[in-house]
């Protein structure tokens, strides 16, 4: 599965994207964040406050309890500040 990171999430993790093999049992966006947080201190730092993290599956906004089954690309980013 392809993961993409933007803005300070990208900076904290230190890469814009990566391909990961998910362990079994990760069903939702929130569970994916918990698993990512355990992968190292850069991930723990990026996801230290999961409530502010926004996510998109295949370029559509999703919520923490959204199922990730079938997702091609999941993106994590801070609240948006465009306009």
């Amino acid at each position: 599965m392809k993961l993409r990171y933007f803005a300070w999430v990208r900076e904290r993790i230190g890469k814009p994207e990566e391909d990961v093999e998910l362990p079994a049992g990760i069903a939702t966006v929130a569970e994916l964040i918990t698993w990512l947080s355990s992968r190292g201190e850069e991930y723990a730092y990026a996801f230290e406050n999961p409530k502010v993290i926004r996510a998109a599956i295949d370029r559509t906004h999703v919520r923490p309890n959204t199922a990730i089954k079938g997702a091609g690309e999941i993106a994590f980013f801070p609240p948006m500040t465009g306009g």
């Binding site: 933007f6 803005a7 300070w8 370029r59 980013f77 609240p79 948006m80 500040t81 465009g82 306009g83």
Partner: protein, 161 residues
């Protein structure tokens, strides 16, 4: 009838007058045009701003704005819409974003332009980094922008839809 709608995400500057003419040229049913332009300010309080750098999520930025343009054309009797959002480094005085809405009457044009800007600020995947005194920091999202976008939500509508 399909409403002419254009969404562009680009690094280059845009020309509001030319974009407006493109929407209104040759038609006599357009009675109202509203244009909004968001411009990079040179200061925030007492601190001067050297530049903004906008990052975006290519593909999703276009898709998300197109979804909201489609919603605007459903909600209001629009005759044309153009939204252009820039990315990259933008210095004070330069344009960041523009919205043009065309309708027969002003109410729809004003409302649709405001709706699009409110959603753009909170839902379009763009992030601003501000350069002040040689330091770059990410701009925090504003609760007032969330509140502005919420005004347009239909009752019971999920914020993440």
């Amino acid at each position: 009838m399909t409403v002419p709608a254009t969404v562009r995400i680009q690094r280059e500057p845009f020309d509001v007058a030319a974009e407006t003419k493109t929407l209104t040229r040759g038609r006599t049913d357009a009675g109202a045009v509203v244009t909004f332009t968001g411009i990079c300010r040179g200061a925030e309080g007492d601190e001067s701003i050297a530049a903004l750098t906008l990052e975006h999520y290519p593909g999703m930025a276009e898709a998300e704005i197109e979804r909201h343009v489609a919603e605007a054309t459903q909600r209001w009797p629009l005759l044309g819409v153009t939204v252009i959002h820039r990315y990259g480094r933008i210095v004070p005085g330069e344009d960041i974003v523009m919205v043009v809405t065309v309708s027969s009457h002003r109410e729809a044009a004003f409302a649709a332009a405001e709706f699009l800007m409110d959603y753009l600020k909170t839902r379009a995947p763009f992030w601003k980094q501000v350069e002040k005194a040689g330091e770059k920091t990410w701009v925090d999202a504003k609760a007032t922008d969330d509140a502005a976008a919420e005004r347009w939500a239909a009752p019971g509508r999920d914020a993440a839809e």
